[in-house]
């Protein structure tokens, strides 16, 4: 369902970009440029996996507790330059399971004044990314001695959805065939809350308890940077095509706070704890290369 939703968003955004392009091209005759690029790359998330504390820290379980979560992806980006100043972009990354792993939209405003070969501007970005928290129940397996730590025998995986909204000033260097763009900025990111339940039972005993985790967004400020290099292999008035290289990084100090409700024996006396793990450095990096076609 989630995959379908991502694809729907992407298709809608793409249609929104393409249809006005055709319409406006007819009205104005020129000025709009549509660009499509296809890339293959790798995305990694990193957040140090810290020693177990008094309470579970879900971010310790990015990719089974190694601190790294890595995804190969195929990325498709559609950009529409509606005028010399405005460009709108939608971007979809499919992970190796061909499930949508990232969806992003951006609107870019270019300043009129140029400084030699350099141009500048401002870009607003919104992105939705997916990462995994795996086997978080291992915290309880390691720490809750005397208990069958999790009565759920299934592989415990959480799809963690990360949203980011930010602003990036950017600078471009454009020569006849080579185009370089550097964007760097800041924004806010947050995790979509989720709920998980752990049911435990005393070994050789009747005692049962249930831990219900309801996470909070964990809103944080981030800083990011992105470098894009394009080289035109084909270039004419109506068409340009070439190869590209893109690299991006995002840094933030993040935590995943949650409300934990503990019930022992029955649901009569619920104990609620507001847990706020300490913020730790969290990073996301992308490296990709591919081809592009501009019309």
């Amino acid at each position: 369902m989630k995959k379908a939703l991502y694809l729907l968003y992407f298709l809608l955004a793409t249609l929104l970009l393409i249809y006005p392009a055709e319409g406006m091209a007819q009205q104005t005759g020129s000025g709009e440029r549509l660009s499509v690029d296809l890339q293959a790359g790798i995305r990694t998330y990193h957040r140090d996996s810290l020693p177990d504390g008094k309470n579970i820290d879900f971010l310790n379980f990015l990719d089974t507790g190694t601190g790294w979560d890595a995804f190969q992806f195929i990325g498709l980006t559609v950009s529409l330059k509606t005028s010399d100043r405005w460009t709108f972009t939608s971007n979809l990354k499919l992970y190796s399971d061909f499930g949508p792993g990232h969806f992003g939209i951006a609107s870019q405003y270019s300043f009129r004044k140029a400084c030699g070969l350099f141009h500048g501007g401002l870009r607003g970005v919104f992105g939705v990314s997916k990462l995994y928290i795996n086997q978080f129940n291992q915290y309880h397996v390691r720490n809750d001695s005397g208990f069958i730590a999790d009565l759920n025998p299934n592989y415990r995986q959480i799809n963690l959805t990360d949203l980011n909204l930010g602003v990036n000033p950017f600078a471009t260097l454009d020569t006849r065939r080579f185009h370089l763009k550097l964007a760097a900025g800041a924004g806010i990111n947050l995790f979509i809350p989720f709920s998980e339940t752990i049911v435990q039972k005393q070994v050789n005993g009747n005692l049962k308890r249930e831990l219900r985790y309801n996470t909070k967004p964990g809103t944080a400020i981030y800083a990011d940077a992105e470098l894009t290099a394009r080289f035109d292999l084909l270039k004419s008035e109506d068409l340009n095509a070439g190869i590209m290289l893109q690299a991006g990084v995002l840094f933030s100090r993040r935590a995943l706070p949650y409300l934990r409700e503990t019930n022992t024996w029955t649901y009569e006396n619920t104990v609620s704890d507001d847990i706020r793990p300490a913020k730790e450095w969290f990073s996301r990096s992308d490296v990709s290369m591919g081809i592009y076609l501009g019309l």
Partner: protein, 210 residues
């Protein structure tokens, strides 16, 4: 003529679709009355993740548990009901004959469960009323939640209860405390809304550390 034939075929197709769409059996949902008048107690082995029925009379000190069934001695566990027949163009259905069972509703409901220990449980817990030390878990398909419920909640759940799985009220009783005595035995007393009281006693349970 050809057009007329196609129209008739189309109408027949629509009628057959109407047969398939509501293709479930229609069963008589009228409840059948029954009365609780018999009890059955089975020992549970609750050392692992899930309780299991056991013939053994040995239990771990912190895992004393029993399965209790209350039912009608006449044995109304299943009563086949006739399917509701409709006249005329009948519906399509998966089975040649509908497997309908009457739901049951007891003439009375539980109002109280009293559990008495016939032996001391520990130096602090002499023989006597230990109802407060027990929790319950309903075992019917409608039971929800991962934890136990207090005994009075279990009683409340039997008010107006419709028994779709047969006329048996079954639940499990778990002792919350650790037994520090070599042998224990419990007497259960179930009181119903019509003042009927059913009593039953567990077998003598040997408490073993291993």
């Amino acid at each position: 003529m050809n057009l007329m034939f196609r129209k008739i075929l189309y109408i027949l197709l629509l009628l057959n679709l109407l047969r398939i769409i509501p293709g479930c059996c229609e069963c008589d949902e009228t409840t059948r009355p029954f009365s609780f008048n018999k009890t059955d107690i089975v020992n549970l082995n609750n050392t692992g993740p899930w309780p299991e029925y056991t013939d053994s009379d040995t239990m771990r000190p912190a895992a004393v548990a029993f399965s209790v069934s209350l039912f009608d001695s006449a044995g109304y566990f299943y009563a086949q009901a006739p399917a509701v027949e409709t006249f005329g163009f009948s519906k399509a259905q998966a089975f040649a004959k509908c497997d309908c069972a009457f739901p049951f509703m007891a003439n009375q409901h539980l109002t109280d469960i009293r559990i008495e220990s016939l032996t001391p449980l520990s130096p602090d817990l002499p023989a006597g009323d230990v109802s407060a030390l027990f929790v319950a878990k309903p075992t019917s398909n409608a039971a929800s939640g991962n934890l136990y419920i207090p005994l009075n909640d279990l009683c409340r759940q039997t008010i107006g209860k419709v028994y779709y799985d047969g006329g048996i009220e079954s639940f499990e009783l778990y002792l919350k405390t650790t037994v520090q005595h070599a042998e224990v035995r419990f007497a259960f007393q179930f009181t119903f809304s019509d003042n009927l009281v059913l009593r039953d006693t567990t077998r003598l349970i040997t408490i073993a550390e291993r």
